[in-house]
Symmetry: C2
């Protein structure tokens, strides 16, 4: 490829609005072009990387007997009604009417479709286990697309679905996929990735793990134990929390004036936030319940993912305007409200001497003893792990790191096979719904995550396994006829053996070096009048910054040597 014809201009300045490193670098290096909020065109450089990542994924899926299929982007409502998700998924799913007024949708994921593909095709236990997967375009109408390819609306995804006669068989296969994912990340050159327990979210099901690339630019919070192997997405993480006890007193209503927030009440009463019972109110969209009131210790935050999972429905923060609830004074004593769901977080279990709202303006109640004064059936863990908590497994310190989710795997049980009526004949004559697993990797996010991890001030450093081109062929002082003749010949010589980006422009060496570092091609060959005098070229390695003069007859040999070295170093 000659750079003079390559679609994708290099940009010097930081594009406005771009904050994440990968977003900035992919824009600056001419790899992506924004089309709309969260929607991008992949220019040739990015598409080359994307295809390589896809091929690595495909190879690994085929190795564990995955069968590649292609399911549709557009699906009829009926398919998603059977699982109930047509209604339970919110506005992130695009719905439209076709020309015949039929309800259609853009598939965000393909569990329903995967089961549909098996209907009438899979009937007998001896056809199981098997896994089908696809590499396909997904559209999710994200509320907040951000950070370039890290969080987009439209993306290419590998999604796979496996089918099993029992849980044991699923667990065996789940481990195989897990191992394949680890191989995939290594092959595309990722370093600092971990797997963590995760919330199964809209997929439902019993167990879920996600792979996270630990990196400061990540938007997920990952809870990691400093001692044992415990790792979890904060949405799913549990912890041991300190239980500071306060003096057990009798209930007493106290004036707190205009103090409403936790901070204001603490200041007014000179008590720590841990002594307050905080109330957080949610609404459930399209549900008869008026309000979900969550009580939690004042220093802790609600983990909405846990809350949603417990309720089994979506929640949004409740607007208390026009409500009977007294904002800032909601409390668990004398709370008279109809049609509410009330949940107590585990952080409150066994506490006394606590302060709660008095359910009237200007007043709180102190001396609350949860056991004595409140009728709680069950304390539910709906709180977010904090840095001060301890590991739920070993009790050691926890720390929270930022991560980019680069893939996830789920054990689904029969959540889809059952309502969709996929039945398997067993040897004993009975019929079962197969147990399913599902497995996803976003290709574009992996691409961007690699850039986050593998780049420097000057630009991207592509791992050799997914580099858009392996070699940057860079003649300088192109007005010198020997240089350009040699460069043209060398380009022809190398083109069929390696992927070469030929900088055939008549611009300064400085511009060429800057561009080559920004684009991040692993190997750079510089041809100058001076090197040619000695029948040599200079070959440099982007990752290690090494430079070496190589005899013009040994260029291919050297390139192969460097490719092998980088492959070993990066995997």
């Amino acid at each position: 490829m000659k750079i003079s014809k390559l679609l994708g201009e290099r940009i010097k300045d930081i594009p406005s609005g771009a904050v994440a490193k990968s977003h900035i670098l992919l824009l600056r290096a001419g790899f992506i072009k924004p089309v709309s909020n969260g929607i991008f065109t992949l220019l040739p450089g990015a598409q080359k990387v994307s295809l390589k990542i896809q091929q690595i994924i495909r190879n690994e899926m085929n190795k564990i007997d995955g069968q590649e299929i292609l399911m549709p982007v557009v699906m009829p409502k009926e398919l998603w009604e059977k699982s109930g998700r047509y209604y339970s998924i919110g506005s992130e799913m695009v719905r439209f009417k076709d020309r015949n007024n039929h309800d259609m949708l853009l598939g965000m994921t393909h569990e329903e479709s995967a089961v549909h593909a098996c209907l009438n095709n899979i009937k007998s236990y001896d056809q199981l286990p098997f896994m089908i997967y696809q590499l396909q375009t997904k559209f999710r109408d994200e509320a907040r697309p951000r950070a370039g390819l890290l969080r987009v609306k439209e993306f290419t995804m590998k999604d796979g679905y496996s089918f099993h006669v029992n849980q044991e068989d699923l667990e065996n296969y789940y481990q195989k996929v897990y191992d394949a994912y680890v191989r995939i990340y290594k092959k595309i050159g990722m370093k600092n990735f971990v797997s963590v327990s995760s919330d199964s979210g809209m997929m439902g099901g019993e167990r879920a793990d996600e792979f996270q690339l630990l990196i400061d630019a990540g938007e997920d919070d990952i809870v990691i134990c400093s001692e044992c192997n415990y790792k979890a997405n904060i949405e799913a993480a549990t912890s041991l929390i300190d239980k500071m006890q306060f003096k057990d007193e009798k209930l007493e209503e106290i004036f707190t004036g205009s103090a409403k927030t936790i901070e204001e009440v603490c200041n007014y009463l000179h008590i720590p936030s841990k002594q307050i019972i905080k109330a957080v109110c949610y609404a459930i969209p399209n549900d008869d319940t008026d309000v979900v009131i969550c009580f939690i210790r004042g220093d802790r935050e609600i983990n909405e993912a846990k809350l949603k999972k417990y309720i089994g429905k979506d929640v949004v923060v409740k607007d208390l305007t026009d409500s009977d609830l007294v904002k800032g004074n909601i409390g668990c004593i004398n709370l008279n409200i109809n049609n509410a769901t009330i949940i107590y977080d585990k952080s409150l279990e066994g506490l006394c001497g606590m302060v709660t709202g008095a359910n009237k303006d200007g007043f709180h109640i102190k001396g609350v003893n949860l056991k004595r004064d409140v009728n709680v059936n069950d304390f539910i863990d709906i709180s977010k792990v904090s840095n001060d908590d301890k590991c739920p497994i070993c009790g050691s310190n926890l720390f929270i790191k930022k991560g980019i989710e680069i893939g996830n795997i789920f054990q689904l049980g029969t959540k889809y096979s059952k309502p969709m009526g996929l039945l398997i004949n067993m040897p004993d004559g009975s019929q079962i719904n197969p147990i399913m697993g599902c497995y996803g990797i976003g290709v574009g996010r992996c691409l961007a995550a690699v850039v986050e991890e593998s780049s420097d001030d000057k630009g991207i450093i592509w791992p050799i396994s997914i580099a858009p081109w392996q070699v940057y062929l860079c003649p300088i002082k192109t007005e010198n006829i020997n240089v350009m003749t040699f460069a043209n010949n060398l380009y022809e010589r190398l083109e069929n053996k390696f992927e070469v980006l030929f900088d055939d422009r008549n611009v300064s060496a400085g511009v060429k070096f800057t561009d080559s570092e920004l684009i991040g091609i692993p190997i750079r060959i510089i041809i100058s009048p001076r090197t040619l005098e000695n029948q040599q070229v200079e070959i440099g390695i982007r990752r290690t910054n090494e430079k070496v003069l190589v005899d013009i007859n040994k260029i291919e040999e050297k390139i192969n040597e460097i490719i092998n070295r980088l492959s070993e170093m990066e995997n």
Copy 2:
């Protein structure tokens, strides 16, 4: 791949509703699964073929310096407003509002998006020419999806866009793409394909050619000259028509009673249909014009594609209920109508002694002399070529054949680059809008077209270049332990060298043979106790029906020989 785990059951009976051969065979062989009208899941067999076709296309596009990119499926309205197509394209384009109430659409084609990708990236004449292409999912809300993968709503398409400084440069490159397309069709094993002039349809632009696979199951009519090289889609075809002259008489109103249709009027007046001036009325959706009245010789049909192109807008047959026009008696004499567009077809030019409606119930007018009695500015060719017409180039007989459109290429001029403001700096300091070409191939339609052309009563005959598997490994009498031991070993032995579908089922030889012929894998290896006695297997070729006994040590050699032979024979 073991057939016991393969997703895609073989079906014995013809699936209800399937008529086209490829539709029937792809369903029966377990290659596709219908999801909704015109929407399919490609099961593993079909996806394997699709990927091979895609790779053949990709290789040929890269050979002519195409740069692969990926543009989005979902695009904002704004992009399509600039070209005007947001409004000019009808309900085949899906439009929806995103979560922020923003108008979005599903891209049916990507001219606008391709130009957008170049904005700020391409500025100077020396960056041209270049071509960008993608392999991507398209959704078109077809009014009448039919025939399985031949006409669908959702499909994978290769679409390419080239940019040039002048028409000559476009024409040079257009020929390169043309040649690449010919190579693609040959490589995927198509035989009887031709290129024909075509209507540029919604693309606009100056010249268009399409590739057609000539086959009875096709839904396009292709006009072909029996002598010279003239070939055109009937939508774009022109012809020489016979000009039978009738006696020139004076105008006279005659009673025709309830005779309304051409046939009825002919019978009533005992004249040939060629003597009648037929009126056909159209409406233009969303346009101020009330009616478009087309006059044409009574024996000929309107070519709506030509009509649309002439008017520059979509047309639909006009409902004359509540109209001032007298259905069955509309004529070109004494036609008093406001706000109408009136078009005379070339078939009427110079005629006399004709019969036209009298614009009142029960009457026609005879003796019409077009030159004397009607004020026609221009006779326009809006008629459909018929079997009796002659070649517009050489005057020889024309014949009409059925074809499947397997690709099309267009010269677009500046239809997109101009309204979207893509400007190129020229050496003389001026700026131009680049001239564009665009080039499409539908992958799934090619797959189905191959099945139409390459199949027999028993099933599909895949060309070796795109066969989902090259070898069908078929042990029979599997209860014989020697057979299965040998088969398992041979599967392991061949698996890394060829693509093998291993029929590991414990079913009768008849079922296996029927399935192998239906699935259409080029090479079949039969292992039976009898062949093994002589240390042999039987190797058969699906296309030629040849069978040969091969020494068990020479199986790989023989397979390679057959693959080479088939490759030569099929390309």
